[in-house]
Amino acid sequence: MIPGELVPLVAVGVPLAGTLGLTLLPEIADRRRNCWTVSCSLAVAVAVAVAAVTVFRGGRVEAGPWPLVSGLAVHLRLDPLGALFALIASSLWVLATLYSTGYMAHEDHRRRYSVFWLLSLGVTMGLAFAANLFTLYLFYEMLTLSTYPLVVHAGSPEAARAGWHYLGYSFAGAALVLGGFVVLAGLLGPPAFVAGGAAALLPAGAYPALRLAFSCLALGFAVKAAMIPLHGWLPLAMVAPTPVSALLHAVAVVKAGVFGLLRTWFSLFGPETVAALGMVTPFLTLAAITIGLGSVLALQQQDLKRRLAYSTVSQLAYIPLGVALLSPAGVAGGLVHLINHALMKITLFFCAGIIITQTGRTQVNQLSGVGRRLPLTMLAFAVAALGMIGVIPVNGFVSKWQLVVGALHGGEPWVLALLAASALLNAAYYLPIVAGAFFREGGFDPPPEGAQEAPLSMLGPVILLALACLLTGFFPGWTLGLVRAVGLGL
């Protein structure tokens, strides 16, 4: 058994140290490099799993604090919420690493790609393990820097433009987070994450300043969570290689933003304080607008990856929406969507990546009949798409049901209409793809005898993930049990 002090160091340190190993390998040593990245991410996943089990059993997983300067310290500690995020990110990272070994085989600059890929893993783990706002801010800022080279990987003028938007939005967001941090630190010293909220005990006289701090933090994290109107960078960032889009822009980066929002909500302010500050309604409104508008925008996209990106914008907002309903079922709905959306969206992106590499088609209207050529891929796509719409028995239904219950408990029945509208819009932009792929003619031939439709390193993760979407839909008790445990610890 690894002692609790070591796990955070393993989870954060192994990828960071692993990048050093990667830089030593020559560009052409693809096999060794792939082995190395996969085993590093596997090691992280195992360490996180061990840590999560320890945490859910009430144990302590903590490293530090390492004091830096006058009250600031880097401090890593896992709590249930962090464990949830770390579990999702690290396990999906393993699959995505496998997938990207297949996807990237024909791209340039593979070494640079792997270096920043691993670096991003370490930074994401740092986010999950952060025990105070300073550490979170530190890794939030580093996440931008470590993922930027992945976003602009193609090196085209388009990628450059996307890169600028990414940096601009992200740094502005991080600056807002820093601003909120500074205001909070002025009120109560550098804030640590405490169950129930570090700022919960402040007197009402501090509320104007707290309001400012909350707005800064919420907007700052909303940038990475791609909440409208701060989402502009996400669709542009789809120029990145598909594994990057899948992992970073459906799972790690955007979820880091959502995770930051959850931290702000639960560990810094506490729901009661947020309510007392009168910030619930603006927050809820922002989430609702994002859900509605994101779906409408997705409907207009002809590029498959961009459609998925806008779908991410819309779906991610379910999580803050659930949280802002201020009822246990709503919180559970939001948190369970953190898991479910990650599973579904990464499946969709992986399928999109297979479509792009195998057929070269990127536009939605070019995909008629693609199910003939890529039957398994499109089946997986169909499963995840149905989940997005919220059809039983895929896991997306579980989230929606919880959110509906949460909305009724929280006294916000209009959310039902919103969810129904969103489901309808989701159906409108996913079902035509699925239906067209299987039931329309488009000049695709079935895969030649004996040949796979995509390399196993790409198809394997897709099938696993589609199964996971189904399993978590069939057995919602697993994920719901987990998020309820997390909810209790908030």
Binding site: L68, V69, V74, Y137, V152, G155, F171, A185
Partner: protein, 501 residues
Amino acid sequence: MMGSVTANLPVLIVAVVLIASYLMPLFARYRRDWCAPTAAGALVAAFAGSAALAARAVTGEVVIVHLGGWSPPWGIEVAVDALTAFMLLVLTGVAMLILVYTISDIGHELAARAVGWYYTSFLLLVAAMLGMAMARDLFNLYVFIEVSSIGACALVASRDTEEATEAAFKYLMLAALGSGLVLFSIGLLYQVTGNLNFAFVAEELTLVYGRYPHVIWVAMCFMVVGFAVKAALFPLHVWLPDAHSFAPSPSSAVLSGLVIKIYAYAMLRLLYTVFGTQFLGADLAASLIRVTLLTLATLSIIGGSLFALVQVDVKRMLAYSSVAQIGYVFLGVGLATPSGLAAALIHVLNHALIKACLFLAAGAIIYRTGKRRTVDLAGMGRRMPVTMAAFTIGALAMIGLPLFNGFVSKWLLFVGGMQARQPVVAGVIILSALLNALYYLPIIWRAYFTPGPEQEESQVEVPLPMLIPIGVLALACILFGVWPAPALALVNQAVATLVPW
């Protein structure tokens, strides 16, 4: 023997550098290859001496030397407390690294006959700065200010091009204006107190403040403006961009990294020890001066960054960035709180490391490729990997990302702003970080992600003696970001001795 060395160590540090400086023209004429080792040896010795003094000063001990055994107010007093020891360490440490770089670089930038004189002025400048750091009377302070002005102008003029001469002339004029204002202030102080030694002047000032408040305020204002000119505080910075960008790269590093800081130090020392209560007081004049300092510092931070944003020449951009960064130091001084003061001091160290690193890296690129424009640096990450890595570290530190030393300064400045009930400081810091990102990141992005011209694919890293100082400075930026404790120990001791809060 040993005892007299330790007792007179402060004087010896200055003397060693000064003597080495005087030897340089001789060596340059008769033994040219002795120049570089002697200069480096002198600075290494000075650094070792400073380290020994710092080890004593960090405990709160003050090493005082009365020259010739004459005690003040008649004799000349030299003292090393924690603040002086801190400055000595920064000055000698960074100057030493820059000198190592200079040895390989300077033959490339100057005519052979000028090299000996270059070392002369370099060492003269360092000696004068060391003297300023330990001077304890107004007269000697003024002498060293003038010597350092001459040394600095010589470093700029050494290039012997039309632009460099013009820049040096402009620098000389404005530096003379600044020294003139300081001299005027010293004259006024001497008139009302009849003393030149800091401690005696300070004591007299409290006695005569009631009788001559206006004279003392005027003296304080002249002092602040004089040093603000010499430290290039916006809008008195007009001489700096030319001087720092047309000078040879090691000169730019020493001018931007050290010289403007030493004037900020001199002002800080005078405001806090000589004017002490008059500066920190609650009356209108004192608070007006503090507010003026804060305003000018803020203007400097924002204005310097805005000007840097539109520069196409990388060295000019770095020069404007120095205008912005010196604003941080003045901001800390103007806040007049323990953390603010600590921020000002730690930023003296941090900016010296960062800016020296950036100027030397830019110099290395110019040395190899002759490229000065930011847009021409495409593909440089591949051609000069170590240099560009150091430049990147420096740039990130300048932006103030956590775990780089720039962040430590910014955080302390923010805490100082809170102590002084000036939350606007936080906004200024964040805005400045964003502006910094706007002009540093494009360079890095181009260097790594834009392919350079086809024919320039081979690696052209500079020779090792130039690479080592750049690397050491870059590593120091990280070291003092991750582990600022040793520097902070000295700084906190300095703050504690400076003002009994």
